[in-house]
């Protein structure tokens, strides 16, 4: 299968690029651990005071943090590195090196989405899975295989939504070389580490359905620790499909608009 061979080859090259900067590895390791410790400490402090917050216990909140870390790790693994190489002052669109990307005999959206990998993020992924497991153990229930499969499916839906949103931001670069959109989203995405129902009603609505960061993390976590209503399931599936289609169309329109920087 060509797409997988290509991804394999992108991963190899990216890993070699990363290996050229060994100190980055240590810094990245340190950042990941610091990130984990502060997040877990925050939750422990909170649940040292109370037992439950809008139905969320220490265990389920830990599981949610695990999901958040896993999703963030996947984002950091390839989505962000790939899209980041497009934007910014040294980005391909600004420098015009995107010409080469456009001229490759490979689907441009595929190429632009998968070509840069940050394999250090695999460590984040492990930490995320660790926290998730800790949450589930704390929960003290045995999970059926169906529940796990359902959780994984919701996770895929969540990640598809995240990918689609980031693809929309990447496509917007064709109109404005700024990176402002991604910053705003990053701010909102940080809210996804907590259950959406701890926020006031209007914000919860926004975070669930307008900027669906809630669907990305809270829904998979609930699928694992609690349950998801069929309506929520169908709507989030639809949302993922619609967003992905819209993002792909926007990317294609942007590509058509792209007139490379004059040389």
């Amino acid at each position: 299968m060509k797409p997988f061979r290509l991804i394999g080859s992108f991963m190899r090259a990216s890993f070699q690029e990363e290996a050229a900067y060994r100190t980055n590895f240590l810094i990245s390791l340190f950042t990941s651990l610091l990130n984990l410790v502060t997040a877990v400490l925050g939750i422990l402090v909170l649940y040292g005071q109370i037992d439950s917050l809008h139905g969320w216990t220490l265990a389920s909140t830990l599981a949610l943090l695990g999901v958040f870390l896993v999703v963030s790790a996947v984002r950091g693994l390839f989505i962000s590195p790939s899209f980041d190489s497009l934007s910014g002052m040294d980005g391909e669109i600004w420098s015009g090196a995107f010409d080469f990307t456009v001229l490759r005999p490979v689907n441009t959206q595929f190429f632009a989405s998968f070509r840069k990998w940050r394999l250090f993020a695999l460590f984040d992924l492990l930490l995320g899975i660790g926290v998730l497991t800790a949450g589930v153990i704390q929960l003290g229930v045995t999970l059926s295989i169906w529940k796990i499969l359902f959780f994984l499916a919701m996770l895929v839906v969540g990640m598809t939504i995240l990918y689609a949103i980031l693809l929309i931001f990447a496509a917007l670069i064709f109109w404005s070389p700024g990176v402002l959109f991604t910053w705003v989203f990053d701010g909102l995405f940080q809210m996804a580490r907590y259950p959406t129902n701890i926020y006031p009603g209007w914000l919860r609505m926004v975070l669930t359905w307008i900027v669906p960061v809630g669907v990305i993390t809270t829904f998979p976590a609930r699928a694992l620790t609690d349950s998801i209503t069929p309506v929520e399931l169908i709507v989030s599936l639809l949302l993922a499909v619609v967003l992905l289609a819209a993002a792909s169309i926007l990317f294609r329109v942007g590509l058509r608009k792209y007139a490379s920087a004059s040389s």
Binding site: F10, E17, G96, A97, V102, L103, P105, S260
Partner: protein
Amino acid sequence: MDNTIIKVKELTKTYRVPVRAEGLGASLKSLLKPTYSEVTAVQSISFEIAQGEMVGLIGPNGAGKTTTLKMLAGLLHPTSGQVSVAGYEPWQRQPEYLKRISMVMGNKSQMLWDIPPLDSFRVLGEIYSVPKNEFERNLEELVQLLEMKDLLTKPVRNLSLGERMKCELTASLLHKPSVLFLDEPTLGLDVSMQLRLRRFLADYNRSSGTTVILTSHYMADVMALCPRVILIHHGKLLHDGELGSLARRMMPFKILRITLGQESIPENGVPQLPDSVEVLEAESNLLNLRVPRGDASAITAKLLETLNVVDLIIEDPSIEAVIDQVYSEGAQ
């Protein structure tokens, strides 16, 4: 031409550029209600190129060369007119088309900066689905022609500009394209590197039959490589043919360089020369004249008769002088 690979007919590209007056007020106004003006970068140009040809696309800065090249490659959508390259419409960028072309840009790199070129090449081999043994064979051939075996394992960022250009060329030829677009490939290179790259391009063009379209500001590149040049100025095609015939058309002059015997030029100047002759230089026993091409032999005969000539050279004006004249005056 029945082996035509590139057909361009009445190709036109108009850009819409934002117009903005100076000052903060104008900036704010243009933010709310932007005004645009149309700039025609390429205006109704037509030409055909045969398989295996090596054609130079020349013209001053902003003439429309790069725009033309980008439309040929498929990076830009033409405003009107037709382009066909290897039977495809370039802007549709079908994978089958993209596998048959390649582009090298002197001011942009396609290499991965932090890893050795060999690793970038392997990724490209995958992207272009070049079978493994074919990949090794092509790589071997290019590495030999470009004498770059020792560069393969050094990180690209540690290479010199010339070494990097060798890598760019290899990267763009690994999949054996039928058409190669070169945009200022010798930009910033030293003279000996320019020479070597030129030799490589000439050899490669001859041995592989790859069609090459080249833009360059170095006339030496074009003179050495391209039997045919297409001159674009203000988006219009001014000349399509030999460089020499361009010179003859644009500069209907010859330069006579005369060295006289011991005695220097007569005090009262050079006798009996028609008005059409311009004295470029007259110093001690050296005399440089610019004469109309048609009169060159008659005037030479006359000078030989009246002056004590020990040496005489008749030459065409330098191509740089021709180009300078075209670029600064535009052509009629």
